[in-house]
């Protein structure tokens, strides 16, 4: 087990490096002079040259990349062009908010998605099945931003039950979490259903029934654990899609998280901030994938022994 985790951990290092390289290259070949951008009005060419030298912008790309990685390893991601504060501080301030949102959304998606998938198998081809699957299909087909606006319109403007946006009370978290979690819930429900149906057709399910276990007990004790294997895979993908969705959700609901930082950074052409927020988010995805792999190996004894 320990070796398995270590292997997977080591395997993630090149991926992370590749991610950093891609982002670095994409953002540092961008046309336009960031220094000119920072100083906007009165551009004195001498000053620009001096600042450029200070920021090492005239070094070759690979030197700058090396320096970037080295600094990043020390927790230094540079200084935001626009906010004039260390990027690392800005991200660390925002991270808890994104985490809170993502965890709430993930909880929603599991608490709704898994039972909906199970229900639709237990009540196959009847109303609960159609209802759950309709809910799921809607979740995977709705644009997240549109669902957010629709909910704002209904629950904030029309009914006045929930605050439109902001991040100062637990109530503020409800709409963003539901909006963000719905599409994951849909994915999970659909996958739970199909994988449960597939597992229920296995020979060992019949064996369990022949032992005298009730249908429900067979479902819970024998089928569910097996059908979770693919669902766990989705949970890994889910980290990526939650963080993608968080970009939009945070924008709509004015949540000061990493996603909103990234969007603002693009609009302000604040390269160091954008660079660090994308790398940081991707790091979270890689960690999520790792966690899913480990969970997979716990669930399926066949993997561990390989």
């Amino acid at each position: 087990m320990g070796r398995f985790v270590l292997n997977r951990l080591l395997g993630s290092v090149p991926i992370l490096l590749g991610v950093i390289l891609i982002i670095f290259v994409l953002l540092n070949v961008v046309p336009g002079d960031p220094v000119a951008l920072m100083m906007a009005e009165h551009i004195d060419p001498d000053v620009v040259a001096r600042v450029r030298a200070e920021m090492h912008l005239d070094d070759p790309l690979y030197v700058r990349f090396g320096r970037f990685v080295w600094d990043a390893l020390h927790g230094d991601f540079g200084v935001s062009y626009k906010m004039n504060r260390p990027v690392a501080t800005l991200l660390m301030d925002a991270f808890p908010n994104t985490l809170l949102l993502a965890v709430a959304a993930a909880l929603f998606s599991w608490l709704v998605g898994i039972p909906a998938g199970i229900l639709s198998v237990v009540k196959k081809n009847s109303f609960p099945d159609y209802f759950s699957m309709g809910f799921a299909l809607l979740g995977v087909s709705m644009p997240v931003f549109w669902a957010g606006l629709l909910m704002q319109y209904i629950f904030a403007f029309q009914l006045g039950w929930l605050p439109v946006s902001g991040f100062n009370s637990p109530l503020c978290l409800i709409m963003p979490a539901v909006v963000l979690g719905w599409s994951s819930a849909g994915m999970i429900a659909r996958l739970t259903r199909s994988s449960l149906l597939e597992v229920m057709g296995n020979d060992y399910i019949r064996t369990a029934r022949a032992k005298g276990l009730t249908a429900v007990s067979v479902l819970v004790n024998h089928a569910l654990k097996n059908s979770f294997l693919p669902v766990v895979t989705v949970m890994a993908i889910q980290v990526a899609s939650l963080l993608s969705g968080a970009v939009i959700t945070e924008t709509i609901f004015s949540i000061p998280g990493i996603g909103r930082i990234a969007v603002n950074a693009i609009q302000a052409r604040d390269m160091p901030l954008l660079q660090a927020s994308v790398i940081f988010t991707t790091l979270l995805v890689i960690i999520g994938n790792l966690a899913a792999d480990i969970m997979y190996s716990i669930l399926d004894p066949r993997i561990k022994s390989k």
Partner: protein, 303 residues
């Protein structure tokens, strides 16, 4: 009644579902038939035909000029004159949605097709040649897949600048990795099959083996991936445009329309809501069709 002499062998009683052979001419006929049989798939198919028709005939069927600013007609509620109302510039929303279908259609098809092409070629190469080719391609795929796709697309848009054309590039660069993984997995399992081994044994050129034998066997999976990839691309474009890094005003992109409408949500909700419904319907149609295709093609995809 005499039993026929040429009764299918194999499992007795009823000819069981057997593993299907690679794509032949009757494949397409059978496929069309099973889609017609599947109610939600045919519903999706009909929805898509309407969508495509709207895109093609947009200038002829839209009641107004989608770009015409009319400050006397701001925020009209839905009415016979403006069936879906007007926006803050008094433009007819229905006409803009109809014209927007062209953008969504092209955005759905082109980047998906490009990333399918890249992904298929790389997947075939990785699976067929193995070794270093394989690990180089698949490690790159791993890296691309590690990004939250929207963020990667945002970064590409930052570098290239916000425009519709650049969305093509961004989405093509993001989408190939998943395709490559599936195609590689299929290629690997096909490579073990007798007919591939036989072809290689009698000295058929690698290129021919890949093009004539491996690729056709991947077509069913690719078809499903393509159908389910299009709504993903449509949603991505809408999201990028919504965030302001995609299509730019006054383009009638559905995502951009929702974005501009969101400022007026409390006074004129239809401005933001109706383009979203258009997105939802189109994505639903593709998902219905894709699910139906997957069910119909299931026997072809089990290698």
């Amino acid at each position: 009644m005499e039993p026929k002499a040429d009764m299918p062998s194999g499992p007795p009683g009823v000819p069981a579902r057997k593993e299907k052979e690679p794509v032949t001419e009757s494949f397409w006929r059978e496929l069309l038939y099973s889609i017609k049989q599947n109610r939600s798939a045919s519903l999706g198919g009909i929805g898509l035909l309407l969508f495509v028709a709207a895109a093609i005939f947009a200038p002829y069927i839209s009641p107004h000029d989608p770009y015409l600013v009319n400050l006397n007609a701001q925020f009209h509620r839905p009415s016979p004159e403006y069936p879906l109302g007007t926006d803050m510039y008094g433009r007819d929303i229905l006409s803009r949605i109809i014209h927007g279908s062209r953008i969504s259609l092209v955005i759905g098809l082109v980047p998906t097709a490009i990333s399918m092409a890249i992904g298929t070629i790389l997947g075939l190469l990785a699976g067929f040649y193995g070794g270093r080719t394989d690990s180089a391609i698949m490690r790159s795929a791993d890296i691309v897949m590690a990004f939250p796709s929207l963020l990667l697309a945002m970064v590409v848009m930052y570098t290239l600048g916000a425009s519709l054309l650049n969305i093509f590039i961004a989405l093509s660069l993001v989408g190939w990795a998943g395709i490559a993984r599936v195609v590689r997995a299929q290629t690997l399992s096909l490579k073990e099959k007798e007919f591939i081994e036989a072809a290689r044994a009698i000295g058929v050129k690698n290129r021919v083996v890949i093009a004539r034998h491996l690729f056709p066997n991947c077509v069913p999976s690719l078809l499903v991936l393509f159908t389910l990839g299009i709504p993903g691309a449509i949603l991505s474009e809408a999201s990028l445009s919504f965030l302001g890094v995609g299509a730019q005003p006054p383009t009638p992109s559905w995502g951009l329309m929702v974005s501009t409408g969101k400022e007026f949500l409390s006074v004129a909700p239809w401005v933001a809501i109706t383009p979203g419904i258009a997105i939802l319907l189109v994505v639903l149609a593709f998902n219905f069709l894709g699910d139906g295709l997957r069910d119909a093609l299931d026997p072809y995809m089990k290698h």
